[in-house]
Symmetry: C2
Subunit: 442 residues, 2 copies
């Protein structure tokens, strides 16, 4: 173990030199002086970089060796902390495991890796008493991991929810502000670099699912299997839905939420109707916002850029600096994340709390549609709050909206199943929960 | 130095058993099981409490010795961490210094103490290599100290601003929502426990000033003398001002702001006109919200309860738990807060950025008021944006508002000085900066 006096220099190896890896390296060298001052004289520098594609001269990092084989980084004598920035879950897994085996602390921004393999990785880290920094894995530069695992460590967290996917939020904001359809908004997001060529992970909600799984583990200390979280993405949201949402003084946001009740943990990812004057509706563009409700601390909100090199690189470095300080004082130690060590699978529970609902039906117009739909709802004892239909809609592809008085999810699901079987339905009902103004989200 | 295996129990001494001290003790015992699980088996308990007023039976903390003399706590063998919750700056200073001298780590929620004596306290702590936890000193349960000093440690922070005083925000929200005057709102805040019997520190802005001084030190690494920060409180805000603010689609909030430019650091506390659809205007009641603008991380916002036992106690315990972990691993260490170790006083700068302004004049009506006021503004080359005057105002106490096109603060101040000399002025001009919708604050 090194102490400050013996070791005033901490060396970082970066595996993967894309947006995040490169931003981390550039901030570390660009802000070297401030960082040294904030770290009480400790200096932290990049000693090795693994980059699979050949380097052009402008990528040269003041003579830092660039290698093609990640094993050269994780096994190097002159690397104290490995930053895994390679992405994916296969090689990344090996990189982290091998780093730990070589006695190196690890920092990663890889939510898919942590959501899928977190248990194994943290178990290995624990055995070696080494930390794995994961601040950058959720919500980019927004320090939500720290907030949950440190700032609220003494509180009992009841719920975590919010906007965790910047791509979806950018698309929804574009649709909201410009009245455009989903496809056009997606193309725009791709053109502006907010969405990948294959946008599935983002727009179908899997990215948000991995992130809420990580937050739920940290918040509730229970083992969360991301694959079991019900997920609805934003692919089926139309310009018409935004039109109807506006009529209801609302907008649409993809919300990931995790709630712990006496019955168990309830986690979902799905689009919600949010009142336009709510804080959540104010979160526009590629921003993220996370609400944390604690027994003592009340409801907190953290907001900021959820992605991008600068924000994510800063989050990666917050872990690097923290671990560097531990190393410099001869005392790196494994994280204690009960949710990743708890062998008990979480007890899942249905959402019992009655909610108001927004049902959008797209139909081939014919007499009796409203009567039969209303009857299907009445059969489940569901009260209709309003029916909204714009005039002059095309008869062969007519969209209208029914909003419901508060009712539990399972009941409305039963009614929707029945409605979806009607021969006039052109596509399945779009079902979204609704929040009233000044109402708490969960 | 103790290691985990030798020492699985960390003992906390609490000096001052008011709202915060008591909440910390109660959460620590009420959540003992969760905390032990989150701390990897480490248990943390209260071993001694100093309480100056006699104890009633319901305050008995499972047989924890209650003493009247704080020296018995800071010198006790069975205390590892001292929580200073006594308040004020005299005895509290002695408590912290004496704790450090006895080799105890310290946690405090005392912003006045840190703003005034931070340098001396952190110097003493550094000499002993002991930490002083100050998360609870700003914004209650909102983890803004962590965000600035850890999460953004690798970034260059350009500005920190927001709502730091829950009492003022509660009063302003009441005035906004119920159209009541300042005195009535203050009385209400006192009745509900949101304001002290002597509310001066809060409503005149000194509490917010101490907090922004602490945040500016952490963010910019410069020595900030709180006493030199210009402060305007909310005492002179009237129901009429809210009326005019509404006409401008805005509301009024007390904003503390610190900005670093090439010229120096600019810090102020004063009421601002905020667009009603802004995030800052959404912060109501006794909540706090802090915006942090970083070079790489963009603009972040943290929001939550800024006061109260539960929130502040949780923040105190976040530091207690962090320090306990350090102690258990034999490695407590002094904080590195450059702004508290930097002997160079900060270079202050005027606000150079042109702003729009709201001027409210209260006058004894007579012919020529507008002409003379407009002339005083024209003489400084200031463009008027609008003049708003409600009909049917009392002639002997008539309030009207002039809003200005963007102009720098020193220029508008010169004009206001001239206007204040006019014989028809019943009180000095109320001058507030204005933010436009979608405008960044600093």
């Amino acid at each position: 173990m090194r102490s400050v006096s013996e070791q005033q220099q901490i060396r970082v190896g970066i595996v993967g030199y894309g947006t995040v890896g490169r931003a981390a390296a550039e901030i570390l060298s660009g802000h070297a002086e401030e960082i040294r001052s904030r770290m009480g004289g400790l200096s932290i520098s990049v000693s090795r970089v693994c980059r699979r594609t050949p380097c052009t001269p402008d990528l040269d990092l003041n003579g830092v060796p660039m290698v093609r084989d990640w094993q050269e980084v994780v096994s190097a004598q002159d690397v104290d902390i490995v930053v895994e920035a390679i992405g994916g879950t296969d090689v990344a897994y090996e990189v982290v495991m091998s780093s730990l085996e070589h006695g190196k602390a690890v920092v990663t921004a890889n939510k898919a890796l942590i959501a899928r393999h977190g248990e194994k990785l943290f178990a290995a880290a624990r055995q070696k008493n080494l930390p794995i920094g994961i601040e950058a894995s959720v919500a980019g530069g927004v320090p939500v991991i720290r907030a949950i695992s440190e700032a609220l460590a003494a509180d009992r967290i009841k719920a975590v929810y919010g906007i965790l996917n910047g791509t979806c939020n950018y698309i929804l904001t574009q649709m909201e502000q410009h009245g455009i359809g989903f496809d056009q908004a997606l193309k725009q997001a791709q053109a502006e670099g907010y969405a990948e060529a294959d946008p599935t992970l983002d727009i179908d909600g899997f990215d948000a699912r991995d992130k809420i799984a990580i937050l739920a583990r940290l918040a509730f200390g229970e083992a969360v299997d991301a694959a079991r979280i019900p997920v609805t993405g934003i692919r089926s949201i139309t310009a018409t839905d935004f039109h109807y949402a506006h009529r209801l003084n609302s907008t649409i946001r993809l919300v990931a939420s995790a709630e712990k009740t006496a019955e168990g943990v309830h986690i979902t990812v799905s689009p919600w109707l949010e009142p336009r004057d709510s804080m959540l509706a104010k979160v526009d563009g590629a921003n993220n916002a996370i609400f944390i409700a604690g027994e003592n601390v009340g409801t907190q909100m953290l907001y900021g850029r959820g992605a991008g090199g600068g924000a994510t690189g800063t989050a990666v470095l917050s872990d690097v600096l923290n671990i560097a300080q531990q190393l410099a004082h001869g005392q790196a130690r494994a994280n204690v994340f009960a949710g990743f060590h708890n062998p008990e699978p979480m007890r899942t529970a249905a959402r019992l709390q009655p909610l108001r609902w927004f049902l959008r039906l797209t139909v081939q117009d014919q007499p009796g549609i409203l009567a039969r739909t209303a009857e299907a709802l009445a059969r489940q004892n569901i009260n209709i709050d309003s029916v909204i239909q714009e005039p002059h809609m095309p008869k062969d592809n007519l969209s209208f909206v029914i909003t419901l008085e508060p009712i539990c999810e399972c009941t409305v699901q039963r009614a929707v199943e029945a409605i979806n079987k009607f021969e006039f339905m052109k596509e399945p009902v779009l079902l979204m929960p609704m929040i009233s103004s000044n109402e708490e989200h969960v």
